[in-house]
């Protein structure tokens, strides 16, 4: 068995967000349709249901492609994030389609935490709305690598360069207020296909790329940061097959593997090579990497985000929850954390309550020590607060029962993110990111 490592195609994850009636479903439908990701039987089903609903012959209600649940179709709303897949010659795409109106924070957070890019839709006739500001605020806090504002329905404003420039300036102003760098703003018509897959002749004043072109060429987050960061490998479990080697291993090989012991996990950042010196959090012990398997196959080197197992030259205390790092880069142990929390559960978060914090592969007990403020997404200011309600974003201090290797989210997406979990029913109460 040989692992082949080919350069292309590679994977790009993006999320779409927008307000009610800004044409997001149409945009998603258009991308899927024009990239041939909708197959004949799906289209036929949509056409049939569209006709049942009184759409003109041959017209499609593109929302039917993404609204998969009975309640969604009955109520004409989108309930939950839906995942869609399409590919072009250049890339495979995973699209997280985030509904805008119901539980928008929860959905935005879900879509944005794994995204390389977020496309926020704006209706060209309405410009930047409160909802747009909120979406952009969440995207800014979660530090999504690329932010794209698609100014939709450009056909309904007569492909006016001035009107587009006006909306683009509004979007740029909000972005700079929020600290979003390198915002991309595109004039599109999802309904008519302008600047979606190909550059439109009807916007000669726009010299930027079409949406799909942009999505095909933006660097993915993996390529952006992992190579230059120090190694971080949260230990999922320790592999010690002993007598339980997989059948079919030759006897001499089995003899060599008799004392096989490795830590298994997915590389969160950096590169690891055989011979590298590493240290372990929290024990602080050091060791040399003596063997690496990537997806079970022996290799000399592995990189984020591969799933690997590492053997060391010495027996070191590494259990689930530990973190393997490049020597000399041990993060400081934290017993207290100042975080930005995205409250997702319906029950309010109040000072004094006991929770669990899941960070990497470690889960520790914690207490909500203090709620400092609530983020007013309309004014973009922090207001004093006693509790966080569902969909609120706020600054909270947590006290931890054990050391965690927390790092600022600004410098490390994986080292600075955690879940807040209900200790008895297990619900995910909030998403947290570590402040600087």
């Amino acid at each position: 068995m040989t692992a082949t490592l080919t350069a292309t195609p590679t994977l790009f994850r993006f999320a779409t967000a927008g307000s009610v009636d800004d044409g997001k479903s149409t945009l998603v439908g258009r991308l899927l349709h024009d990239s041939k990701a909708i197959l004949a039987d799906q289209l036929e089903q949509v056409a049939r249901t569209s006709a049942d609903r009184g759409f003109a012959h041959g017209a499609f209600d593109f929302a039917l492609l993404t609204d998969g649940l009975r309640a969604e179709r009955e109520q004409g709303i989108t309930i939950d994030v839906a995942y869609r897949y399409f590919s072009t010659g250049a890339r495979s795409f995973i699209l997280a389609d985030c509904p805008g109106h119901v539980q928008y924070t929860r959905n935005m957070v879900t879509g944005a935490t794994t995204a390389d890019a977020v496309v926020v839709l704006v209706d060209a006739r309405k410009g930047v709305l409160e909802q747009t500001r909120r979406h952009l605020a969440v995207v800014a806090l979660l530090r999504v690598p690329h932010v794209i504002v698609a100014v939709n329905k450009i056909d309904l404003i007569g492909f006016s360069a001035e009107a587009f420039a006006d909306v683009a300036a509004q979007a740029q102003a909000v972005a700079s207020e929020l600290g979003i760098e390198g915002l991309h703003v595109l004039p599109v018509s999802a309904l008519e296909g302008d600047n979606i897959v190909e550059r439109s002749e009807r916007t000669p004043w726009y010299d930027g790329p079409a949406l799909l072109e942009l999505l095909e060429t933006l660097p993915a987050a993996d390529g952006l940061e992992h190579e230059v960061e120090p190694l971080r490998l949260p230990v999922q479990l320790v592999l010690r097959p002993q007598g339980g080697l997989a059948p079919g291993i030759a006897p001499d090989e089995a003899e060599r593997l008799r004392d096989y012991r490795a830590v298994a996990g997915r590389i969160a950042s950096g590169v690891v090579r055989v011979g590298d010196r590493v240290e372990l959090f929290p024990a602080g012990t050091a060791a040399t990497v003596s063997g690496i398997r990537a997806a079970g196959v022996e290799v000399e080197e592995a990189t984020a985000p591969q799933s690997v197992s590492l053997e060391f030259d010495a027996d070191i205390d590494a259990a689930r929850g530990a973190l393997v790092v490049s020597a000399g880069t041990l993060p400081a142990a934290q017993r207290e954390v100042d975080a930005e929390l995205f409250q997702l559960d319906a029950r309010p978060l109040t000072p004094g309550i006991r929770v669990l914090v899941k960070h990497g592969t470690a889960t520790v007990q914690a207490i909500v020590a203090q709620i400092e403020s609530r983020y007013d997404l309309d004014a973009l200011t922090h207001e004093p607060a006693q509790a966080l309600q569902t969909n609120d974003i706020g600054r909270v201090r947590l006290r931890l029962a054990a050391d965690l290797p927390l790092e600022p989210y600004r410098t490390s997406r994986h080292g600075g993110s955690f879940l807040v979990i209900h200790p008895s029913d297990g619900a995910t109460l909030a998403a947290g990111i570590v402040r600087d």
Partner: protein, 306 residues
């Protein structure tokens, strides 16, 4: 298995990234749950999940058993493949039989003869009897609109029900599998794979599959635009004429509701080429049970189907 040393990884391909994600999910579940089990039908998706599990724990063996819900209408070559596979890998096979439930009256045969919807009760009983707190499945989000909204780690109550309106948000790659006694999770490591990804991965890894995925001659008849196999559980009606065609299966399920497609694709390269240009989804082309209604899959999932 021969082990080879590869060149340093520069750019990881889509398949490498999907593989890394799936192995991460499998290891998370094994680390956090007491008694996981893999639903294994011998179909290509569950075969891929099992292959990923062998890689996740190499050079050790797969540390959990597999469970097959046998409808009693399975293709014999798929059952043979199932048995060979577990034998080769040295893993335990649990079988829950729909036929047992029909024989003693706990389930009643449907008028249309389809047994796929009948799998739910034996599945839930087997999960309870095995005290399994996590159940791996090979379901993919690209298969169906309801599955597009499914989590990678998805909580089920003691009735196995899926509540699509009240799912836990899934953030970063931090999976929350905490549950209370009686609850279990379904874990879908290849959620983000498409049908084409699955076939390209099978080709790349040289994974063995049941023979009926490859083009072969078979006695079939046309029903609702699908080539249905002539067999003891799926006889043609009088008005349906039987002919011999060169066909293959894109999905493998219950004989009574799985159709074949006409195809000359006799090897993996040919199948990859065929799937890449297909104009029909695999379920639309070959699954009668999903044509029952627009929400057929959602309704079955809410009842505890996987």
């Amino acid at each position: 298995m021969t082990l080879s040393t590869t060149a340093p990884a520069t750019a990881l391909s889509t398949l490498d990234l999907l593989e890394a994600e799936a192995i991460h999910v499998i290891r998370e579940v094994v680390a956090e749950f007491e008694r996981p089990v893999l639903l294994f039908s011998g179909g290509k998706d569950s075969v891929v999940v099992l292959h990923l599990a062998t890689k996740a724990f190499a050079p050790g063996r797969v540390p959990f058993p597999v469970l097959h819900v046998d409808t009693g209408h399975n293709f014999p070559e798929v059952l043979a493949f199932r048995d060979e596979t577990v034998e080769r890998l040295g893993i335990r096979l649990e079988v829950a039989r729909v036929q047992d439930y029909i024989d003693d009256g706990r389930l009643q045969e449907r008028a249309d003869g389809t047994r796929n919807p009948l799998q739910t009760v034996p599945l839930l009983d087997a999960i309870a009897a095995g005290r399994h707190d996590a159940v791996f499945g090979g379901a993919r989000r690209d298969e169906d609109k309801a599955r597009a909204k499914e989590r990678i780690i998805s909580l089920r109550d003691e009735f196995g029900q899926w509540d699509p309106r009240n799912q836990r948000p899934e953030l970063w790659s931090l999976y929350n599998g905490r549950h209370t006694p009686g609850q279990h999770v379904r874990a879908f490591p290849i959620s983000n794979w498409t049908e084409l990804d699955v076939w390209q991965y099978i080709e790349r890894e040289g994974i063995a599959l049941p023979p009926l995925y490859f083009a072969h001659e078979r006695e079939v008849y046309d029903r609702d635009g699908m080539w249905r196999p002539v067999g003891p559980f799926s006889p043609p009606r009088e008005d349906e004429s039987v002919e011999v065609r060169t066909v293959r299966y894109r999905t493998v399920g219950d004989m009574s509701c799985t159709g074949a497609v006409e195809s000359d694709a006799a090897d993996l390269a040919a199948i990859v080429a065929e799937v890449a240009v297909s104009t029909l989804t695999e379920r639309g082309a070959t699954r009668a049970d999903d044509r029952l209604s627009e929400a057929a899959m959602e309704d079955r999932k809410k009842d505890g189907y996987f």
